[in-house]
């Protein structure tokens, strides 16, 4: 049974208010049966230093990725992971994490590939929960194993591969990396190794909208009106547009994917998880460079 939605007025403005919860709502529902809270962080040790009581950890690096191929786990492995974490197909899953929910949004996006019905993000993530002095514990979560069906991953709807992006050229692309990564300047910085790519720059036609522009200082999402002014007004995207978002490995762009699809109601946004670590390393990919980002 899915849990009730958070009736918070800020959330009610969004296209899919049921996809976010506030810290207050989560605190009130922590003990509800049918809820599993998942912490997913960029820093994989952070959970061990203290987490929301009852929350389980999902490690993006070791648990969501296939150990051999650069891909996500398959249906069988995902089902095993869910059973082991105590998540059933009808469980309401609330994700939270560090860095304004980058990795939490990334985990949510990967869960979405498997079509898990009720996935929500904690607005403001770990930092907000801690800043409000809410309870944290180092006690390991002890959840009984659950049943989870083997459901095939659907890579067609919200995920883009390199070939898809090549076909997509000319349609809206959003590069959510930092301005220096976008322009290709990072390659030229003296004495610094380039982080994982042989070429710098961006996919031709991509607009630069660093992911953090969708977030407030406290890590919560900006209001619907602010997000519309940014993606609609400034960048010129419309909810009916076909959009591809990317970053370095697809984690920061999951945050933007979430903002566009869940908060603004875009229906055709795909995350290119190969992102710059594929595009900037692959042979003969078209690349654009410029000194300053256009926007």
């Amino acid at each position: 049974m899915a849990l009730p939605n958070d009736p918070d007025p800020k959330l009610a403005e969004y296209a899919h208010p049921e996809k976010l919860v506030t810290t207050g709502w989560l605190a009130d529902h922590l003990d509800d049966p049918g809820l599993v809270v998942v912490e997913s962080d960029e820093d994989i040790l952070l959970y061990e230093t203290g987490h929301i009581p009852g929350a389980v950890k999902v490690d993006w690096h070791t648990e969501l990725n296939d150990p051999i191929t650069r891909d996500y786990v398959d249906a069988e492995r995902f089902a095993q992971l869910m059973r082991q974490k105590g998540i059933g197909r009808d469980t309401t899953v609330v994700f939270y994490g560090d860095k304004s929910n980058w990795w939490a949004a990334y985990a949510l996006w990967v869960f979405s590939l498997f079509g898990h019905p009720d996935l929500r993000l904690l607005d403001g993530g770990r930092a907000k929960w801690e800043a409000e002095g809410r309870p944290m514990t180092t006690a390991a979560a002890d959840r009984p194993a659950a049943d989870y069906p083997v459901v095939e991953r659907d890579d067609t709807r919200i995920r883009a591969f390199r070939e898809d992006v090549l076909e997509h050229l000319g349609k809206p692309l959003v590069d959510v990396r930092s301005p220096d990564e976008y322009t290709g300047k990072l390659l030229h910085m003296a004495n610094y190794p380039q982080e994982g790519a042989l070429r710098g720059g961006h996919i031709p036609g991509a607009k630069s909208v660093p992911w953090a522009r969708a977030a407030n200082e406290d890590g919560t999402f900006k209001s619907r009106a602010e997000l519309e002014a940014l993606y609609g007004g400034e960048v010129g995207l419309a909810p009916s547009d076909e959009v591809v978002v990317y970053c370095r490995i697809g984690e920061r762009s999951s945050h933007t994917w979430f903002a566009l699809t869940q908060l603004l109601g875009f229906e055709r946004v795909r995350n290119y998880d190969g992102s710059w670590t594929e595009w900037g390393n692959a042979v003969r990919m078209p690349i654009e460079r410029e000194v300053e980002p256009a926007s």
């Binding site: 960029e42 820093d43 994989i44 040790l45 952070l46 061990e48 230093t49 690096h61 070791t62 560090d98 930092a127 610094y192 190794p193 982080e195 994982g196």
Partner: protein
């Protein structure tokens, strides 16, 4: 077999990681993150005296001081919200602090890859840890050069 070129304290840490099961390696990293000593006031009050290590995904700052005895003293700072980064900082502090300049400079750049952490930590993390070692060694080299221009 590769460990004999490492200083004993660091070799011991590397062995400890390499021979532990993956789950315990994370636990160990957490312990080292908790062992990183706080900065003395001359750095705590003047964080600009520490050099940033931008290769790390989280803020990390380091200063290596070469004492009159040619021994190296390490001062590293990383935020509490970045325990993995603190963990690597703690490892290098435990393994390098108090060694001679020559011993520090002799540590191979790939030492972090010998700790069998690639399975549990992302590659970018390991690169950040190597970058930390690189900065320490460069700072030591610079101070050696200042101390005796012919060195």
């Amino acid at each position: 077999m590769t460990a004999e070129v490492l200083p004993p304290a660091l070799a011991e840490i590397v062995d400890l990681f390499a021979t532990s099961p993956p789950r315990d390696r994370l636990e160990l990293l957490l312990e080292y993150s908790q062992q990183l000593p706080p900065l003395p006031s001359r750095y705590a009050e003047h964080p600009e005296r520490l050099e940033p290590v931008p290769e790390c995904q989280s803020p990390l700052f380091v200063a290596a001081e070469l004492g009159d005895d040619r021994r190296v003293h390490l001062f590293v700072d990383a935020p509490r919200e970045a325990p993995t980064t603190r963990g690597f900082a703690g490892i290098f502090h435990a393994g390098l602090d108090g060694l001679t300049a020559d011993e520090v400079l002799a540590v191979p750049g790939d030492v972090t890859s010998r700790m069998a952490l690639a399975e549990v930590v992302s590659p970018l993390r390991l690169r950040g840890a190597s970058a930390l070692l690189g900065r320490v060694q460069r700072q030591v080299r610079e101070q050696l050069a200042t101390a005796s221009p012919t060195a």
